[in-house]
């Protein structure tokens, strides 16, 4: 590991000032950043440890019914917060499907949003990678790319955003609160990640020194609480990133979908909000025909970036399943195998 300065600011303003220097990086729980540093994938010259900043570890209900989650709230604490889990069950389920108990106990909300891709060529410093070393090329294009993107990728980079948490956050219109040198600003989570075709090295639109202080879920998010699920498919039953995942929320009235929310994970450089699918669902009967139509709409324009065409088919099936599960109603408690098809038994279709 290279030599670096380590500073522990007393408050947000001090943190922002310290992190505005070139080469500085925020350190939250470090479950991603320290791994990257040990592997020489990133070599910050200054770590600004925000993990002890006061006031950023709270989950607060606002007067307007929205929920404000401090950037330092631990993934596990959030998932196990009873009121949160009740109003945002799919988000709790997504959190609990990620990483391992030990990692969730440490990992923070802010860090989860800004975790880097798991593209193995990004991790392998001897490989060419536009994200790690801009302009060098992308060894994943002709390499092992079974896990790479099928939506929103560019010739320069075909990596996916690995977070589970961010998928339902994107679906339910989460807002990110940011503190910078020029004060406070906020944006939709969807806008935190650059649009398709942006320079691969830019994972997010934050300016130097900008600190995520909170994530806010609008009151509208809880409107889907009765019909929302997260579904994550992977070869290992637990402790693996998603091959493909989906967060689905439905507002159903008399069997008709009033409003739908849908986002996909593991398919694109960002948590992938499927607005066309949502539109296709609005006003439709909550049945398989509608879900299949939505699935097709969600994957419209998808194309393999390599040896991963199967993901397009898999993603559609996952969308159908997630919507089916959501339509059946949110289970009373998060299943023992969160987000696993094996805990979502009621939705299995009986195709002989």
């Amino acid at each position: 590991m290279n030599r670096f300065d380590y500073v522990r600011p007393a408050d947000t303003a001090e943190a922002v000032a310290a992190a505005s220097e070139p080469g500085a990086a925020y350190l939250a729980a470090g479950t991603n950043l320290l791994d990257l540093m040990k592997g020489n994938i990133v070599r910050p010259t200054r770590l600004v440890d925000v993990s002890r900043l006061p006031g950023l570890d709270r989950i607060e209900w606002q007067a307007d019914g929205s929920l404000r989650i401090g950037a330092l709230v631990r993934n596990a604490d959030l998932a196990h917060d009873a009121a949160f889990a009740k109003s945002c069950p799919a988000i709790a389920e997504a959190l609990l499907s990620g990483a391992s108990a030990q990692l969730r106990n440490a990992a923070t909300v802010g860090g989860n949003l800004l975790q880097r891709t798991r593209c193995s060529y990004f991790y392998d410093t001897a490989s060419r990678c536009n994200k790690r070393a801009p302009g060098t090329g992308c060894d994943a294009r002709e390499g092992d790319n079974r896990l790479h993107a099928v939506l929103g990728w560019s010739e320069g980079c075909i990596a996916t955003h690995p977070s589970d948490f961010c998928v339902p956050l994107a679906a339910f219109d989460a807002i990110v609160e940011i503190e910078g040198r020029n004060g406070r600003r906020e944006m939709a989570l969807d806008a935190l990640y650059p649009p398709s075709g942006a320079a691969p090295e830019r994972d997010n639109v934050l300016k130097p020194g900008e600190l995520i202080t909170a994530v806010r879920l609008p009151a509208s998010a809880s409107a889907f609480a009765g019909h929302s699920r997260y579904l994550k498919v992977r070869e290992r039953t637990s402790y693996a990133f998603a091959l493909v995942s989906a967060a689905a929320g439905l507002a159903i009235e008399n069997g008709t979908i009033r409003e739908a929310r849908l986002a996909l994970g593991g398919v694109a450089p960002k948590p992938w909000r499927a607005r066309a699918a949502e539109q296709a669902l609005a006003g439709a009967h909550a049945d398989e025909t509608a879900f299949r139509r939505a699935a097709a709409a969600a994957l419209d324009g998808a194309k393999p970036s390599g040896d991963n065409a199967f993901k397009i088919e898999l993603a559609q099936r996952i969308v159908v399943r997630a919507l089916t599960l959501a339509a059946q109603g949110t289970p009373d408690r998060v299943p023992a195998l969160p987000a696993s098809p094996f805990s979502s038994v009621a939705g299995v279709r009986h195709v002989a």
Binding site: N2, T125, S127, D139, E142, D144, E235, T237, L243, L337
Partner: protein
């Protein structure tokens, strides 16, 4: 020695309420769970420096430059060891004077022969400084195209496979003509991936030189062999080398032979004249410490109309390194299990730019088993038979490849008990016909397990002290399998003492050579040595008593004595006896000792085929739409001779079965075919099962008395659990889905075909 107390004759009766057979917990368990057990890397002698390997990022070529000055300038860096200043060795690391000696990369030149090969060692005051120093070396290379994968080079017939097995074997009639005329035939090709060692504890060494004496803490499955290898390299006598290896955080074959990085740690200590610690990083395990070769196996099986096998032909293509020879004996898996009037096995190999593949838990047996058991399953179905019925129909009464009788073989009992416990009789013959209440596809599959009952050579020394307590010394290796406990049990029985009256000393090279903890033969081999040492010292004690007029046992020489609870008794009159303490005290002896050895009995070996067996039954559930697979339960029943400690044995069997699940559904090194680098050299992406993948797993043993394998009747259980299990899971996936996947591990995309579920959308 009076023959009656020769424990090797009939050990079972000698100690009533014996320690052998008790399900004791690990004696060192408390030390381990409290962190008090010191592993190699926990040692920190005064003045110790840290060594870190710089490793190659190309798979083939030359190192053209290293910025040694930049590394040296880094604060804390003490020295950089390269081919220019590496201390001389007495033996060329590329020398191969016996087939069991493997070439090492010890900075002997600028060649790179695989990714992750050591190209320099940075030695520093801190781990961090050494780590950064290694980065600052910024190596440059002249790279040549990497040859990786089974199709990257011309194949050739290896001279031998495994440890000196013939590369091709034929037994009985002509396979081709049997195949040609058979009413039922299958011809199927299976592929298994490279697997890498991921013991929890990576290879580590703390080395200190004192003149020409060398002191080492390092995990080892074979201390005496390591001593010999290091002695040869450094031109010193083995007795100048002291290795301590009290605990291993797993070995699985990777610590059987001392590996290059460990020797580099010793060289580094020599170079700087201070103790040095070198611990491999996880990704550095993916190269120099051995791995499981990939394989492509073609199985052709013919059967008569009634389902009796007429021919088996098993051909395996495997890979070795460009510079050394280890050939995974995958096809040999077909030698022992199924009766066939015509049997042929053969191998071909390719040289690739990877570290030399070596022993990994059940080398050959595991790789071959998954292919053979899949093929047997395919053949059973082709014959319209239940997989168990098919196996019973083709049950081998003698070893198929040799015609030798088995020393013992309780496989029928394993099949019967396993089937019963699993509920196998309710299985449907057709695939894709079973569902659970939730709509998941359910599949039941089975496999036969087998592993040879081997013996190597080991020594032990037994002592009885004047206070009546005992000591047993044998430099055995506890890899976590519970050797310390099992050997102490054998030792206590051999000395006819309670366990807490016996000090069992192990894990250090200054103790008698306990051979190698490999080939599932450690308990059998060192256990026999311990058993014999105990018998020998009891014999000496008896001699002392029966020839002493003052002893109540005087003159009992002809009728004999028995040992029990720290006393000797006259066999014909148990009211006459004397304690060990009294015998020694009267003789004025502080202690009495004797040696014992354990080796195979060549006569028995040539007369009998010796194997452990088992039957494994697996149930999987498969999501019909999404293709995700989960093993929902598994039952394994094994016959492995005498069980010394049922708790440890069960753990070994379960561990093996879990590796079987891993083999079929998870484990795989992903290699970039352009660079030859392994792209998932970390435990986040190199998947092994987690608890959620192995929900209900049961392992049992059946009684099996084997009078031939060794005096204690032990067969070994360390590796057999993988065999059978991997195939059982694969067969269950087929039974659930109707899709026969022949490339492992099975992935979701393999099952996402339109056959599995109608297309969505």
């Amino acid at each position: 020695m009076s023959p009656e107390i020769n424990l090797t004759r009939d050990p079972a009766h000698l100690r009533h309420g014996s320690n052998i057979g008790q399900p004791l917990t690990r004696r060192e368990g408390m030390l381990k769970v409290t962190g008090a057990a010191g592993y190699a890397a926990d040692n920190h002698p005064p003045g110790m420096l840290y060594a870190v390997l710089a490793t190659a990022s190309i798979a083939r070529g030359r190192v053209t430059s290293l910025d040694v000055e930049a590394a040296r300038r880094h604060p804390g860096v003490v020295e950089v060891m390269t081919q220019m200043n590496r201390p001389p060795l007495a033996e060329d690391p590329d020398a191969k004077t016996n087939p069991f000696m493997f070439r090492m990369d010890l900075l002997q030149n600028d060649r790179v022969r695989y990714a992750n090969q050591a190209i320099a060692v940075v030695i520093a005051e801190t781990l961090e400084a050494a780590t950064e120093g290694a980065v600052l070396l910024s190596p440059r290379y002249e790279a040549e195209p990497a040859r990786v994968g089974l199709d990257s080079n011309e194949s050739y017939a290896p001279p031998a496979v495994g440890v000196g097995n013939p590369a091709s074997v034929q037994h009985g009639g002509d396979v081709e003509s049997a195949l040609a005329g058979a009413p039922h035939r299958i011809d199927a090709t299976y592929e298994t991936p490279m697997q890498y060692h991921n013991a929890m504890e990576p290879h580590a060494i703390v080395a200190s030189w004192d003149g020409d004496r060398l002191s080492i803490d390092t995990p080892s499955q074979g201390m005496a062999m390591a001593q010999g290898r290091i002695a040869g390299l450094f031109g010193i006598s083995p007795d100048k080398i002291h290795i301590r290896s009290p605990f291993l955080g797993g070995g699985f074959g990777s610590k059987g032979l001392v590996k290059g990085p460990q020797v580099l740690g010793i060289l580094a200590a020599k170079l700087v004249g201070r103790p040095v610690k070198l611990v491999l990083r996880r990704e550095q395990m993916y190269g120099p410490v051995g791995h499981r070769s990939p394989s492509r196996q073609r199985l052709r099986i013919a059967a008569a109309a009634d389902g009796r096998i007429a021919a088996i032909d098993h051909h395996a293509r495997i890979a070795t390194s460009s510079f050394d020879d280890f050939y995974e004996p995958a096809a040999d898996a077909s030698h022992t299990l199924y009766a066939s009037p015509a049997l042929a096995t053969s191998h071909e190999a390719v040289r690739t730019d990877v570290g030399t593949p070596l022993f990994m838990r059940a080398p050959g047996e595991a790789t071959g088993s998954i292919a053979l058991e899949s093929a047997i399953d395919e053949m059973a179905f082709a014959c319209g038979l239940d997989p168990l019925a098919f196996r019973l129909k083709n049950y081998a009464e003698v070893e198929p490849a040799t015609g030798k009788p088995f020393s013992s073989k309780a496989l029928r009992e394993c099949y019967a008990q396993g089937a019963e416990r699993f509920g196998w009789s309710k299985r449907s013959l057709q695939p894709r016909t079973m569902r659970d209440d939730d709509g998941f596809l359910v599949g039941w599959g089975m496999g036969t397990a087998t592993f040879p009952a081997l013996m190597f050579a080991a020594q032990a020394r037994a002592v009885i002290r004047h206070d009546g307590s005992g000591v047993m010394e044998s430099g055995t290796h506890d890899m976590g399998q519970g050797a310390w406990t099992a050997f102490a049990q054998i030792a206590a029985d051999s000395l006819a003492l309670d366990l807490d009256r016996v000090a069992f000393k192990a894990g250090s090279s200054d103790l008698p050579d306990a051979g190698i903890a490999g080939g599932s033969a450690h308990t059998a081999t060192a256990g026999t040595a311990i058993h014999n040492a105990g018998a020998a010292v009891i014999g000496k004690l008896a001699e002392l008593a029966t020839s002493d007029q003052r002893s109540p046992l005087f003159g009992a020489g002809n009728t004999g004595v028995v040992a029990r609870n720290g006393r000797l008794f006259r066999r014909d009159d148990e009211s006459r006896g004397e304690s060990y303490a009294d015998i020694l005290t009267r003789a004025g002896l502080a202690e009495i000792d004797a040696q014992g050895s354990g080796t195979m009995d060549p006569a028995a070996q040539s007369n009998y085929a010796m194997h452990a067996h088992g039957a494994v039954f697996a149930e999987v559930k498969v999501d019909p739409d999404l293709g995700q697979v989960r093993v929902s339960r598994m039952v394994g029943v094994f016959a492995a001779g005498r069980v010394i400690n049922p708790r440890m044995v069960r753990s070994q069997l379960l561990g093996g079965m879990i590796w079987g699940v891993s083999f079929t559904l998870h484990e795989q090194a992903i290699i970039d075919h352009r660079s030859g680098r392994i792209m998932n050299a970390n435990l986040s992406e190199y998947h092994v099962p987690v608890n959620a993948d192995v929900p209900r797993m049961e392992a049992f043993t059946v009684d099996e008395l084997d009078p031939h394998v060794n005096p204690l009747g032990i067969k070994g259980v360390g590796e057999i659990g993988i065999t059978g299990s991997a195939g059982a899971v694969a067969n269950a996936v087929w039974h659930a889905t109707g899709v026969r996947v022949r490339r492992f591990p099975i992935r979701i995309d393999d099952l996402l075909t339109s056959e599995v579920a109608g297309r969505v959308g």
